[in-house]
């Protein structure tokens, strides 16, 4: 029981103290700084390993859908196919197998198969999904900005003034006021949020280091 419950909490405590202590020392204090920088490099690698955890889950659940011929199983085939092809040409490139120069372009500018997938499948899909925001921001504004009460009215007026201040037809009237709104009142509100949230985050850190907050480990036994 000690191992299962206390060991993880002890490791959290130790791993948490390393960067905190290192933070207050100069670079010359190598005995303190070195473990922190090792841990930093190591955590990047751990995160790299974690991706496969996700891949395993995706393969398992989609294979199940295909085997059971669930509704929409065809899309599970598309998903796994896309992943297998892109992942395979990526792995071949990463290890320079089959004459591939890597995962970018050939010296003459032609794309490797992985770069082709990145340029013509991944990037346009990403950019398109991102661009849908232009539509959603309009529909959200339409629905949310109503003169319901004081707070909602302030929200509405500030948004409309800034929108007018950013286009040629309204710039002359609202341009300067827009900059003022963004810098002074908006700056003050943001600063209040940041100070409060930073203290909240620090308090959470302390709870985790002390082993009080542990739901992220599934050790939520209470006191």
């Amino acid at each position: 029981m000690f191992l299962r419950l206390r060991l993880p909490l002890l490791l959290t405590l130790l791993a948490g103290l390393v960067p905190v202590v290192a933070f207050f020392f100069k670079d010359e204090a190598r005995a303190v700084k070195a473990p922190a920088s090792w841990l930093e490099q190591d955590m990047i690698i751990v995160a790299g390993f974690a991706l496969l955890l996700g891949v395993v889950n995706v393969v398992q659940s989609n294979m199940k859908k295909i085997e059971r011929r669930d509704k929409g199983w065809f899309f599970a085939v598309v998903l796994l196919g896309g992943m297998a092809v892109t992942g395979l040409v990526g792995a071949l490139g990463a290890f320079r197998i089959g004459g591939l120069p890597g995962i970018g372009n050939y010296p003459d500018g032609r794309p490797t198969p992985f770069a082709w997938c990145a340029n013509y499948l991944f990037t346009p899909l990403q950019a398109t999904m991102f661009s849908l925001l232009a539509f959603y921001i309009a529909s959200a504004a339409f629905r949310a900005f109503r003169v319901r009460n004081v707070a909602a009215t302030i929200l509405l007026v500030a948004a409309v003034v800034v929108m007018l201040g950013r286009i040629p037809v309204g710039e002359g009237v609202f341009g300067r006021f827009t900059e003022w709104l963004m810098q002074i009142p908006n700056g003050a509100a943001q600063r209040g949020i940041i100070i409060g949230a930073a203290l909240g985050a620090a308090s959470l850190s302390l709870r985790v280091i002390l082993g009080i907050e542990r739901s992220y480990l599934g050790l939520d036994k209470g006191e």
Binding site: V20, F23, F24, K26, E28, A29, V32, M43, V46, A47, A50, L51, L52, L53, G54, V55, N57, V58, S61, F122, L125, Q126, M129, F130, L133, Y136, I137, A140, A141, R143, A144, F145, L155, Q190, I193, I194, I195, G196, A197, L199, G200, A201, A202, S203, L204, S205, L206, R207, V208, L210, I212, E213, S215, Y216, L217, G218, L219, D220, G222, E223
Partner: protein, 259 residues
Amino acid sequence: MAYFDISRVNALTLFIFFCIVVILFIEKARADRNLYIRRIAGLNAIDEAVGRATELGKKVLYIPGIMSIDENQTIASLAVLAHVARMTARYATDLDVPNKDPLTFASARETVKEAYTLEGRPDLYQESMVHYVTYDQFAFTAAVSGIMVRERPAANFLIGSFYAESLLLAETGQASGAIQIAGTAEVAQLPFFVCACDYTLIGEELYAAGAYLSRQPAMLGSIKGQDWTKAAVGAAIILGVLLESLHLFPGFKAFFSIQ
């Protein structure tokens, strides 16, 4: 102490002050179990949202942000997830937790599994409740949007660290008719959650949420401690403004500046 970084003496002072105050209040809370913490509107709505999903026989969708567990907002979100999962276990409501980050995925699984065990319903827990989607922000958004329109969850929780996908998810969820409770400390995304969700936990409220919901004395004590540190910071700001306005003792403001 030649190795001590003297330029960080101000940070060290704040750090020590903060730790002492928080730990003192944690100890105090363990002795006196009646600490006052005011209501936080978004948190009281959680029960209502899960209740509605139960009534309608639909699922609860919980998105723990898109960042990894190296981000404190994610850890704060998992603490809220622990509470939500206990409720869905109690009412035997379906829960769905899609993930963008693989480590968050691994953590969220532990969290949900434990919540179902604690509620005495490990039989209801299924591995498929917490699942992985993809590492790309917008591919994840597309997939979750698909879940929202096809499976029409009755309650959407968007709690954690969000970026540009905040409004894409919140608008899609809104159009699908779900009750939406959001929470983030990403200042740039707060306007969108405030506009498109029913309740929004703003900044510090997100970090306090897990502690507030757990009702454990030590947790509440840490909120008290952070609260009084905040009061001290506020008092220091007021003092600093007075000194600056009277052009006295510029060293006070300089002490708070870094570098």
